[in-house]
């Protein structure tokens, strides 16, 4: 289930959930669970991701009446989860700075020597989300903007800065 595309079944499930059908909402949870967890992992890391997605989905149920267009369920629920991740990642900021920060690599392939999370953790949370939604979900800038609640121009700026930071981390600060 892509975050931004909705088929007929999903639309039907969203409409049933809007009428208070808990099982229909359960089917939506199952359909979106994997992608939401992956997004959360890219923003806050493995440790908190699944708890945050569970919390986000419970919140989504209570706010379902605010979903005006059932076709927008994917971006809408992703935004709820992302906002929770953003809040937690701000609290993590101090913690992360005390954790082992990758040393500039001397290995022949720096990308192999550092884990994806070690690199992501050096970026701002929005930059992590933009990279994730670009590289993993292959969303357009407009779709990413609707998930993150920013403009497409900001999406491009975040991506540019994120890629520059990635190159700096992996290049050992040479750029």
């Amino acid at each position: 289930m892509a975050l931004c595309s909705v088929d007929g079944t999903t639309e039907h499930l969203v409409r049933a959930a809007l009428d208070g059908d808990r099982e229909a909402f359960g089917s939506l949870v199952e359909a979106y669970w994997g992608r939401l967890v992956r997004l959360a992992r890219s923003v806050v890391g493995d440790a908190d991701a699944e708890d945050l997605v569970q919390e986000g989905l419970v919140v989504a149920w209570t706010r379902l009446a605010g979903l005006s267009d059932p076709l927008r369920f994917g971006p809408w629920v992703s935004r709820i989860v992302f906002r929770r991740c953003l809040r937690v990642s701000r609290r993590q900021r101090g913690r992360l700075s005390l954790e082992a920060v990758p040393e500039p690599s001397t290995a022949s392939d720096p990308v192999v020597s550092l884990s994806a999370w070690q690199v992501l953790s050096r970026l701002a949370p929005r930059q992590r989300a933009v990279l994730h939604l670009t590289a993993i979900e292959e969303m357009t800038d407009t779709e990413i903007a609707s998930v993150l609640g920013i403009t497409p121009g900001s999406v491009r700026a975040h991506r540019r800065r994120a890629r520059a930071s990635v190159a700096r981390v992996l290049g050992g600060g040479r750029s």
């Binding site: 890219s42 990308v111 690199v119 992501l120």
Partner: protein
Amino acid sequence: MTPLNDDELVRSFEDQLRRWSRRPPTIPGAVARVRILARLPRASRGVSWLRLAAAAALLFVLVVAAWRGAPRWAGETKAGLEVALAPSTGPDVVVWVLDNRTTVYFAMSRDGSARGGLS
């Protein structure tokens, strides 16, 4: 070995990110579904039946308290009723029953004079 340039580093990292992200969640979707459904509050939208029931119960308690707590004097209502009915009044007479001992009545006439009294 020639060091990778920035674009190659980024491209290589994004490949690594895809592989890292492909790992399945530790909690399967079916299990997450059960856990999340167990945490959902009863009503998803509109009227909260719990709140409505609480408001109805509160209203009931207030009505009962007001009814039971209102000051009463023995025979007041009955006496007042008797007094109110006691004076024989015509169509031009207005009677005010102030309490069970005091009745004020006004009699109006067409020429402007008025008779009245206190009983």
